[in-house]
Amino acid sequence: MTVIFPVLALVGLGAFLFQVSGEHPEKAWQAYLVNFIFWSAVAQGGLLFSVVLHVTKARWGKPLQGLAESFAAFFPVSFVLFLVLFLGRAFVFPWLGGDLHGKEGWLTLPFLFSRDAAGLLILYGLGFAYLRHGQVLKRSGSEVSEDRREAVRSRMTVIAVLYIMAYALVLSLLAFDLVMSADPQWISTLFAPYGFVKAFYLGLGALIILASVLHLKSRGASSLTSSHFHDLGKLFFAFCLLWADFFYCQFLVIWYGNIPEETSYLIERTMTLPWSRLAWAVFILSFVIPFLILINKEVKTRPRFMIGLCSMVLVGIWLEHYLLLGPSLNPGADSIPISLSDVMIALGFLGLMAMAVRFALTRFPELIPVQRQEVK
């Protein structure tokens, strides 16, 4: 059981190296890029949950906050992964050397990497600062005076607010630089918000999975009640709708405007084979099914079921990244370029994420909500 995640990671690494050395390195790098964005989003969105709860002083999710924070353990990994991305620059930036319609000023590799790296540093730095204060509060028991705690808490709030802002801005930056720029003549003002709403959607999904797994493992030892799952489920449902709404907002406006600079992007991805198939898959997996199911109240409180549902949504979003990047990275592809190796590489990243989370939970057991911890 304890070896499975490292094994997964190695498998992924192997698959990646095999591909890179093979005659289709671009496929490997595409998978790498997709998974980097995807799993980083999971981590960033996961922590956002805790942060938001803190800022809004919401009490209902206290026991879940710890779990959400455990995702932050992936931050360092994510940062390293980003730096590695530089090696694959030739394959992940199709606009290199192409006609940039006068965008050369913005789309230059050094500038792009430095600004994005800086962005990630700030975001992750804030994340950890937030966590440190959290630790102080959790660790420090009665020996610390109340007003001292209050001071820490308020500082923590400031950092939390900053994290939220950074989250919005940095994820926007990544959305523009790593995804939107793949089709340099296309723009959509909602694309960035679409990106970070999606990230939170992912974070919530992952959080539900984690919570459910632990809940099931702990066999009633955990302090998570069905109302926790219910609320979390509702939030997940809400963001499912919001994500779909943001998608529709872009789709409708572009469809109605009928300006080729915008529509061509949409047409290629949603109305022409092979990509339209993928589009439908994403739409059904990540919206239609969860929407129809989550209208129901009960299912939200069934951890086992939710694990399945959330995993499905996550897979859908994972495919969605292929949908956004694929057509630009594989011009004129006649079939969807997702092969076994992509899956293996994805599993590799899953392994990394899981190891990170497990590390966090073992290193800081207080993150795990169990009965003895007085909650609420």
């Binding site: 003549q185 009928n258 300006i259 080729p260 600079e261 529509t263 061509s264 047409i267 022409t272």
Partner: protein, 980 residues
Amino acid sequence: MVDLSRRHFIKILGLGSLAFAPGCDSRPEKNLFSYVQAPEDMVTGKATWYASTCRECPAGCGLLAKNKEGRVIKVEGNPLHPVNLGKLCMRGQAAVQGVYHPDRIRRPLLKQKDGWKALSFEEAETLLRSKIDEAVRKAENRVHLITEAVGQTLSNLFDEALKNWKSRPPHIFEPFAYEALKTANQKVFGVDGLASYKMEEADFLLSFGADFLETWLSPVEYGRKFKQSHAVHGRQKGFFAHVSPYQSLTGANADLWLSCNPDTEIVIGLGLLRGALQSGNRKSLPSDLTEALQDISSPFTKEKVVELSGVDPDLFARLIARLLKAAKPLVLGTGTGASGANNLRVNMAANLLNALLDPGLTLLDFAHRHSVEKAAKRSEAIALFEKLGHSPEGVLLLNNVNPVFSIPSSDAVAKVFKQDTLFTVSFANFMDETAQLANLIFPVSLPLETWDEYSGTTGIVSAVQPAMAGLTGSPRLGDLFLRLAHGGPAKNFQEYLSLRLSASGLLKDRMDWVHMLQEGGLFRNIPSEAPALQWISAEEVRSAFRRLSFPKPADFTFVAAPSLRFFDGRGANRPWLCEVPDPLTKVAWQSPVSIHPKTLREQGLKQGDVVELKSSWGTLEAPVYETQDTLPGVLVLSLGQGHELFGRYAEGMGVNPAKLLPPETEPLTGSPQFSTKLASLRATGRSIALAHTDGSRVQHGRKIAVSVDLAELGKEKKEKKGLGMWDFPLVLPLPEGYDKKRDVYPPHDHNTYRWAMVVDLDRCTGCNACAAACYAENNIGIVGPDRIREGREMAWLSIERYLDEETMKKVTFLPMLCQHCDNAPCESVCPVYAPHHSKEGLNNQIYNRCIGTRFCSQNCPYKVRRFNWFDWKWPKPLNLQLNPDVTVRSKGVMEKCSFCVQRIKEAHGRAKDEKRDIRDGEIQPACVQTCPTGALVFGNLMDPNSRARKKVDDARAYQVLGYLNTKPAVFYLKKVVQEI
């Protein structure tokens, strides 16, 4: 007649037209035949067309008057007429507004102590007769007639009448009489007349200011001929250089505007002569003449020319080179409004250049001379007025002249009307500056209501026939004179006319008469031989060019430019002409003074500031218009507006620049002076908003009015693939125009027809005839200056004027109208389907359905939709001009160009009756019909052989803002520019 119900009006008019149709008695050849069908079977709702002649200016274009239910609702060019081949200018289009003008005088008016007393026509005639008899009884030469240029027949009648009255022949007064040109022809060729020019054959055209696209001699004719040589054919294109201190519309159409200091054109002329002689290969002239030319031109080296005229040396050098390279060069003299001490010499130089470069003067046609040559010189006019000023009792008859307006600064003119010995009679239809000074105003029927004949050029006879019964019941001038002069066998002028024509052997039998009326005149095999040329002698040359004097460069030179819209001012009371903005300034209703930005900066002025212009002869205040179309220090103000009287549309609109002009004529030629030095230019401190219709003057690098260099022509790759503004391909508004990669929407089919228009920017001269025609055809509301200032003009078709961003001088004209897009953004946003896509590709606008949300206009990228902010007014009887086939829109409704859907429907009906499809070219929207240069082509895109469809394949074809994927059905052909 004022408040006569429309229905009743139609009734009598119906009678009227039938009444005059059979002529005066049973004599069959007097039957009136209409162009398309005889009037006796006039069917309600069916138009009857009468061929006649336009009398809005002396050019005398042939026209067809469209008569519906007894009233003329539109005039169009007569395709058979040699002068204009079916085209008309905006002034011609507006002729009908004279007929229905609300301020038209309907009864004779006799001046009395306490204002005007209305008389019946009989009373007036009796009075007039008695006055004349009285005068004739007193002594000889007591009856004086001052008339505009009239046809031969009428002028014969005048002569006879005046002979009977023992008086001198009439004086023909035209404000624009081309004295300098005439004198130059007289001196150089010994012909005291105005030759016509075969511009169409010239491959190089040089004008010293001749504004042949606006007023000069025969604008419609020369507009056409100009483009015949100047529009691009394959890779060929004539070259046109314009030399003048300011850029007129004609100058704006030149490939090179060579701006020179005022009154220094002669220097350039002589410089060119010198260059031509040096090249030496021209041995067409007698040697002594050549020597003389050498002598006079030798001082004018390039340096000298540059020094004196201030032209760009390099441009001048290239001009000479280009001129000498030309196979068939043609040099034109000065413009209608030219003046200055050297005016005559410039025209002589032009003639000499032609003589030198074009051996045998193949491009000058003395056989067909412009009949305006008959007009007396201004100097003679002034002389006459001085004489009249202190003449014994008598009668002064004025036929359609307005000297008081044209020569405001002259005391002589004023004196004539002040003194009471003369009984002045004005045959005017409008109370203008001159009429109001007359003792008796005797309105006579207007050209569209009368029998006459007027030939713009010698060698043709152009008929004038009534296209409707007289609206006011006024007599015809011809008939009146016949009765007054009680001479001759003819019992009315129509008969007099036919008799004269038969007598002069032009009509053999009555069928000739019929044909003449059908075709609008006699255009074939009319004897007209060119007079023998008397070449100028070397001596005369030397003397003519001895001691050239140049005006000290003044701080401010003021130029009164003849107006494309109002001619000499006679058009100023036609609302359409006021409403359609000036093509260069884009200002409507007002007449601002154009000043160069540099001058403005020096004077601390800005556009809209009202300045006071003072000359030795007068003062006037006008708003400033900032433009680079003039040189620094040269102030240009167009003639024609600033009437104190002349009806509601003219009064108080703009200013009359003639007030600043000297009354003295130019000694050498006797021509008026249209320019003068300014004593002072002073800001009044007031400032007004100009009623201009343009937002930005430049196109900010957008693909709107595109031009291509002649050298580059056809070089750029045709197949475009991109999605951006500049690399987006040309897409047809047809199913094949849809590409799965670009289009979210499925293609849709049309029924047999997909109407479309092609606009050749290389042919468009910006003359605005199309815009006026559109107003006339589609009952477009007149909103006036205030509404225009608010951005509420209603023009369905407007000529957008874009300046070149570097120089701010080079102009591109872009006729902008509804593009009838296949994916029209305006349609889907309307909540009630008021605009939608028709089965023939039209972008329909259903007025009855429109609730006025105005979303369509917001979403139209071309901003061609117009909204009825109020109910627009057609004061009676102007409403009688309204086209019954087109809805008059009420307030709160959106409207726009419909491609003249009423004409399309009519064609459908005809085709259906004849069980066929609509033929290519059968449908001509009003704008297409009248375009003098044929820049507009309308047709069916689904017909692979239609002219429109073929033109779309031209390499120059593009769509304005096509990258928005609106798939416009209006295609533009890039303007072809060339550097000298």
